[in-house]
Amino acid sequence: MVKKWIEPRDIKSESDYEEEKRKFGMALGKPFITLILEIPTGFEEYNNEFINLEKDVDFHEEVNDLIKKRLLLESRRKKNL
């Protein structure tokens, strides 16, 4: 019980906090986006593995690489126009 009291609590108004961070990020030239991803249909038995992806550093890097590829493609497409 006592341990529960001294554990850090989640910040109140999480959406306000994220929104404020987004505004700071935009102002500092480091914008970020928040995506809501659902577990793909047919993979329901991997619920836990899916949830763990949120904090998986390797997964974050893979997504980062994907974003870089996508942005490079976009830039090439613009140049060709």
Binding site: I6, R9, I11, K12, E20, K21
Partner: protein, 423 residues
């Protein structure tokens, strides 16, 4: 102590325990306590129904609502975000200057914003900037929490406990600054110096800041300038209050109406954002303290306490400062202010500016001793947790205890000099 007084003490302790342990929300805890106070008070004939309606100080609630509305409109204009971005920019990427400017802006923002709102804003800024520059966020977060707590001490409207004490003691905005202004300036400097000394090796190395213009973060420049104007007007009116013949609550509400009229926002959105949790907590707790007062218990404590420490101003001031400082490190400082105010005003010869100043300093300065001391520290630790960083209870407390002791120690020295308290 009679049976009725024991029942009322149990209700008081139950409320404190419920709110401190977060078994229920702080406001619900106070409202449960108020309900029990009403029940036992009416049952035992301690007070009548009509009499109990006077337990809630409507002036205080109006003052709080007025200030909250003005500040909410100013916050929407991006004024405080602009300040934080500017503070980062002037550092030029030098971690030492960044650290000092973050400390100063944290305290400055908290002069106007409520502690949780200030923490939300500064935590978002800290998380973004420390990630961007790859700095260890812990020194910056801990220092921001401590400085936000300190900033609230600075003016009559800086924290809820200041408003409670100010109204009860009849201290005006200008008198408040006159009693504590110099103390505050020195406390800011001392605390920043202590934090810098404690964290100097963890601040990181100089990095290049991205090029940005703080003005680009201001979405509505018209509202931005109008918000500055209203905050300025609020302060000017508070400063000249004595000549106006009205109370602080009238000025706050007047400025709130003006802010609502010019904000262009949906007032329903603004009302939703007000800190109703604090308002209901105060209303409930005022009722509990009102009930305790009627049992004669607070008058007894007042007499006993100040007989023990002596009738001298020195003993009364030091007891008030250190007792309220230590108590507010574990219990809500609003509860401490509401409990101590009637004790001090009920005691003949004790309600002097020195003792009231001691109460202001004590209730505020103890608020960042441990991660559980107040809303600001809980939120700061919560924000770090959300960023995936764990800050242990011991790591924060080590710094919190040192800064609280420095602040309370200096406050004792200041009170002795400022009010010429003979030892």
């Amino acid at each position: 102590m009679d049976e009725i007084q024991i029942i009322f003490i149990l209700v008081y302790v139950l409320t404190i325990l419920l709110s401190a342990t977060k078994i229920v929300q702080m406001s619900v805890a106070a409202l449960i306590g108020a309900l029990l106070t009403a029940w036992f008070g009416l049952l035992y004939g301690v007070f009548g129904y009509e009499q109990s309606l006077g337990f809630i100080d409507v002036q205080l609630i109006m003052l709080l609502l007025g200030v909250m509305i003005v500040v909410e409109v100013a916050e929407r204009s991006g004024l405080f975000r602009f300040g934080a971005l500017y503070a980062v920019k002037i550092s030029g990427g030098n971690p030492k200057i960044l650290f000092v400017s973050i400390c100063v802006i944290s305290a400055a923002v908290s002069v106007f914003l409520s502690d949780p709102t200030a923490m939300l804003l500064i935590a978002a800024a800290m998380a973004t900037i420390t990630k961007l520059l790859r700095y260890d966020p812990i020194p910056y977060f801990i220092s921001a929490m401590i400085m936000i707590n300190l900033g609230g001490t600075s003016t009559l409207i800086g924290s809820v406990s200041n408003m409670i004490i100010g109204l009860q003691a009849g201290i005006s905005f200008t008198a408040f600054i006159g009693y504590l202004g110099v103390c505050e300036i020195i406390l800011w400097g001392l605390t920043i110096a202590a934090l810098y000394f404690l964290f100097r090796k963890r601040l990181g190395t100089k990095k290049e800041l991205p090029k940005y213009n703080p003005w680009e973060s201001v979405e509505n420049k018209k509202l931005f300038y109008r918000s500055i104007l209203i905050l300025f007007l609020l302060i000017i009116l508070f400063l000249t209050l004595e000549n106006l013949g009205v109370g602080a609550e009238a000025v706050a509400l007047g400025c709130a109406i003006l802010a609502l009229a010019i904000s262009g926002s949906d007032p329903t959105d603004i009302f939703k954002k007000l800190d109703w949790e604090t308002i209901f907590f105060i209303a409930g707790f005022m009722f509990i303290v009102g009930g305790l007062e009627k049992t004669g218990l607070l008058a007894d404590i007042s007499t006993q306490l100040f007989q023990t420490v002596g009738q001298g101003e020195f003993g009364a001031s030091m007891t008030t400062l250190w007792f309220s400082g230590l108590a507010s490190s574990t219990v809500s400082n609003i509860a401490i202010a509401l409990t101590f105010s009637p004790i001090i005003s009920g005691s003949a010869g004790i309600g002097t500016p020195a003792v009231w100043s001691a109460l202001v300093l004590g209730t505020n300065l103890g608020g960042a001793t441990t991660p559980l001391s107040g809303a600001v520290t809980m939120m700061g630790v919560g924000a770090l947790k959300r960023e995936g960083i764990s800050l242990s209870f011991a790591e924060f407390t080590k710094v919190g205890v040192i800064t609280s002791l420095i602040q309370l120690g200096f406050a004792s020295f200041y009170l002795i000099i400022r009010f010429n308290l003979g030892v």
